[in-house]
Amino acid sequence: MIVIAGRGGQELSRAQRELVTVARRLAGDLGSQVAYLAVGPEAEAAARRAGAFGIGRAVAIELNDASGAVEPIIENLAQGARRLGASVVLLAADHLGVQAGPRLAARLGGSALNDAVDVRVEDGRVIWTRPVFGGKALADVVLRRSPAVVTVRSGAFEAAEEGAGEAAVDVLEAVAVDTAVRVVQREEGRQEGPRLEEARVVVSGGRGLGGPEGFQRLAELAELLGGAVGASLAAVDEGWAPPEWQVGQTGKMVAPDVYFAVGISGASQHLAGISGAKAVVAINKNPDAPIFKVARLGVVMEYEKLLPALIEAVKRELA
């Protein structure tokens, strides 16, 4: 059984629909079935919805845990995966997937793999592809133990379309887990403008900005274009941008029409987050910066000179 696992919700998220695509491919090649597993406050709604994606079987575990700890989610995912007889468990490589994937594998006696970007079946063996060395190479990997608990990188697969159908849903009672881990405070991240992951325009800055003031310029440009501001890891480490703005392998995966990379060298780990961008515009003073290798349009200039002019040019265009 190929199991798509997640937190549920009223709709299947884009990431979940990408998992449907992976599951269908595997089920077809292995001659197995696809099931859906949701653990969360809206588990049942999502489990019912799964039927519309041609999924016949689902388990919903209504978990209302106020602690904010991940352990109750992991333990209940394990219960559900066992109930479904999972041979493969698919999770989105998102905030939950990162922390739950390997631990779920350990609890189920399986093997874990993170950030799958491709999968195929050869002679009955499932071969997973994942980026390694910050995306400078791709590794083909076979896992030894069952179930394979795999997190899938967002944007690597097409999202499945919704059709019609119904799933037989088992609603299970959640197992209570107390780990004495509690979230006691939550800060809201970015407030204004679109979410980075959904923005049509992203304006990102790196170490080349030389200080926090540069980010004000980027914010001005982003606002004019209805976009969001992003950052490289180096800019986050400098304290010029909050960690939520980080784009890349260990930050956000973005997929805008235009991605402005300002004072960013184009390290592979950064590029891992922008492969979904339609076009990259690179602004860098070094003509040999690797970012130009993936850019559609490039300007070799100090950003301090170009940005004010660019903001003016955009204002004129919009007026």
Binding site: P102, R103, T179, Q246, R296
Partner: protein, 268 residues
């Protein structure tokens, strides 16, 4: 009594090696030798800093660093000693094939147990070479301890750890009691400090505790059997786009051309 903190570190191929220089060796399964130097992994640096800050604050009494690797990793252990980690342990795995995360986690969990009295294990969120993102989590499962992930800062307050971490939408503060495993992600407050010159000198003379997997009760067969997967081959992805450079010295002119091209390409 302060905490005994164990930091799990890894020496990695310099992650900053440009993609253009990256090559695969004849086995097809690992990077070619000599394409770049090795460094203490970036997220392990953040993890070490989180532990050292607990020590600065008087919350940790002892910081031990552990790695499972060949003798070359002594260099990174010494770097940790140079920023005043108290003890360095190398579990020498040379002679065993490339370890996968399940094997590494078992070794490190056993090393934590052998050290004894460890209250808090701190690991990087992922190693900057194979990017598995598994070891810290698997160590938590193996020890049966809870795990708080993506932590940026830790403080101890009356026996309770207050952890600032990256939540799904923004920062969170989490309270937890040891024993605990945390995985660390970067922010501006956990950039690893620089060593002082005298500590750097002293670190050259400090002893490194050396264990073998056998010292931890793992013979070669048991270790091999722990592997969760196998790399069949590596390949280098194609990723080039033809960059159209907009040249000129006058920023206003260049900016106007850039905006015009973006519109022509229907990108704005």
């Amino acid at each position: 009594m302060g905490l005994h903190v164990a930091v799990l570190i890894k020496q990695v191929l310099d992650p900053e090696v440009p993609a253009a220089r990256f090559q695969i060796d004849a086995s097809g399964k690992r990077p070619a030798a000599g394409i770049a130097g090795e460094v203490l992994g970036p997220y392990e640096r953040n993890a070490l800093e989180v532990a050292l800050q607990l020590k600065d604050a008087g919350a940790a009494e002892k910081v031990s660093v552990i790695t499972a690797d060949g003798q070359e990793a002594v260099e990174s252990l010494r770097k940790a000693l140079a920023v005043r980690a108290d003890q360095a342990v190398l579990v020498d795995t040379s002679g065993h094939d490339d370890l996968d995360p399940a094997q590494t986690a078992e070794i490190l969990a056993r090393a934590v147990e052998k050290l004894g009295g460890v209250d808090l294990v701190v690991a990087g969120r992922q190693a900057g070479d194979w990017d598995h993102g598994q070891v810290g989590y698997l160590v938590a499962e193996r020890l049966g301890w809870p795990c708080v992930s993506l932590v940026q800062r830790a403080e101890l307050d009356g026996g309770v750890l207050r952890l600032t971490r990256q939540g799904p939408d923004g920062r969170e503060v989490v309270e937890a009691r040891p024993p605990l495993v945390v995985t660390v992600t970067n922010d501006e407050r956990n950039v690893l400090r620089l060593p002082r010159v005298q500590d750097l000198m002293a670190s050259r003379r400090q002893p490194i505790t050396q264990w073998s997997p056998a010292d931890l009760g793992l013979d070669a067969a048991a270790l091999a059997d722990l592997a969760g997967g196998e790399v069949l081959r590596l390949r280098i992805p194609e990723r080039e786009s033809q960059c159209e450079f907009i040249s000129g010295d006058d920023p206003a002119e260049v900016a106007a051309t850039l905006v015009r091209r973006l519109k022509e390409l229907k990108l704005l």
